[in-house]
Symmetry: C2
Subunit: 231 residues, 2 copies
DNA sequence: ATGTTTATTATGTCTACACATAAGGAGTCG
DNA sequence: CGACTCCTTATGTGTAGACATAATAAACAT
């Protein structure tokens, strides 16, 4: 091996041995020291390589037990959750935002339960639309906990979407994301190109910050929308 | 600082400074050497910490340019794509598999176009059901390219699902995954607890290996299924 | 036989140092 | 003024060596 053996090369070789070579599912790999010797690199490098391969989902590492090839590689899909604006503009289309409605109300029971709000919590309820080249692309149904974020009461969200305001205001959060299929309701029918009961692809995102509920949003997408990733 | 400063502690402190402390979005961080000095650790450790924080999506690192706090943290959702069996058994329910139908046919045009198959390619078409505690959980509509995988013709898939056979047979693949909402068709109505036209959450997964199409599968889920992740 | 302690071992992480590499910036030259 | 070269600098990655930790396996006691 003439050139320097980088940990990436080692990774590649390991993956190859797993996927095509002698290390089938369930195989117990030799120890790091032995492998490092075979590959002509330091244990540090071998450790890095093995760690990253295991992060890819191929290996299962346990102290003392050793490194074992996963029976079924954990195939994890990564979906970047783009800001709608970026997602639309990436396609070359023109983005436009519109506020449909805004109201400040007492949190309904289902919302209180869902987000863990106190009784009589006040929330800002928004309906927004995101257009791609003039066509409704996404309907945003958002609730913001005004008890935790009183500044939300002063925002009117007529110019910019609440998402952009939120990411700039609330620094970091605990997030729960769900993907689901829902039946189009009256509101969706009115704003998106759907018929009543049509299947709608929805993303629901609940956000907390320091154990306080921040916001719950449901993003309903236009007809035939797909969320796709490759790897 | 009495106890050992592990790279995790350093990470935590860095994240805290980004989310709550002085390092707002866009901040240019001090160099690794300086930070290592401040935190009382080696540059190696600081490097590891910064690398992992940047993998979390908070930091943007470039040689010479330095380490900068991302304007909008890349909110990426990671969905582990579990084998159905594991997903069901994790909930404590009993898993059962059933083959609904199996046929070997010439690939229909839409499939040829979708997967890039040659004309007159033969495919194995399977319909399978995955039960959770006796209730239909997922309907699997799978096409396997028999031209690339002739072994598939000898499998009858009556005992074990094609997924488990495939992961054991085809080593590693290029995958494209889509999430979408579809309207329940006659087949789904028959096997899942759906009415015609009901919204169904579907996962579509196309797989290639060495530029040859391997399989295309659509997984239709039971009513009200959600795919959820937290971070 | 069964439960508890102890030794062993593979991975996890830290340190200090070195060289590689990419990219910004200064200086040079047409 | 613009294009080029070279230097500087921050991150990227490599080495060897050490100690920490978790989990298995063996030895021991009940």
């Amino acid at each position: 091996m003439t050139e320097t053996t980088t940990f990436r090369e080692v990774m590649a070789e390991i993956v190859q041995r797993i996927t095509e070579g002698p290390w089938g599912p369930g195989t117990l790999l030799p120890g790091e020291v032995e492998l490092a010797e075979e590959f002509g690199c330091s244990r540090t490098t071998m450790n890095r390589a093995l760690r990253e391969v295991s992060e890819l989902g191929f290996l299962d590492r346990k102290r003392k037990a050793g490194t074992r090839v996963r029976m079924a590689p954990i195939r994890q899909a990564r979906f970047e959750m783009p800001v709608v604006r970026a997602e639309i503009e990436k396609t070359g289309a023109v983005y436009r935002y519109a506020l449909v409605s805004r109201e400040v109300v007492a949190a309904p029971d289902w919302l209180r339960a869902r987000m863990g709000l106190k009784a009589r919590a006040r929330v800002v309820h928004l309906l927004c639309l995101h257009f791609s080249d003039g066509v409704a692309f996404q309907l945003e149904d958002r609730w913001i906990n005004a008890s935790a974020l009183p500044q939300a009461l002063e925002q009117d969200f007529s110019e910019a979407g609440p998402n952009e305001w939120l990411v700039a205001t609330v620094p970091f959060s605990e997030v729960e994301i769900s993907f689901l299929a829902a039946a189009a309701d009256a509101v969706m029918v009115q704003h998106l190109d759907h018929a009543l009961g049509d299947p709608v692809f929805c993303v629901e995102r609940a956000t907390w910050w320091q154990n306080a509920a921040v916001t719950l949003v449901t993003l309903a997408h236009r007809r035939d929308y797909r969320m796709t990733t490759r790897y």
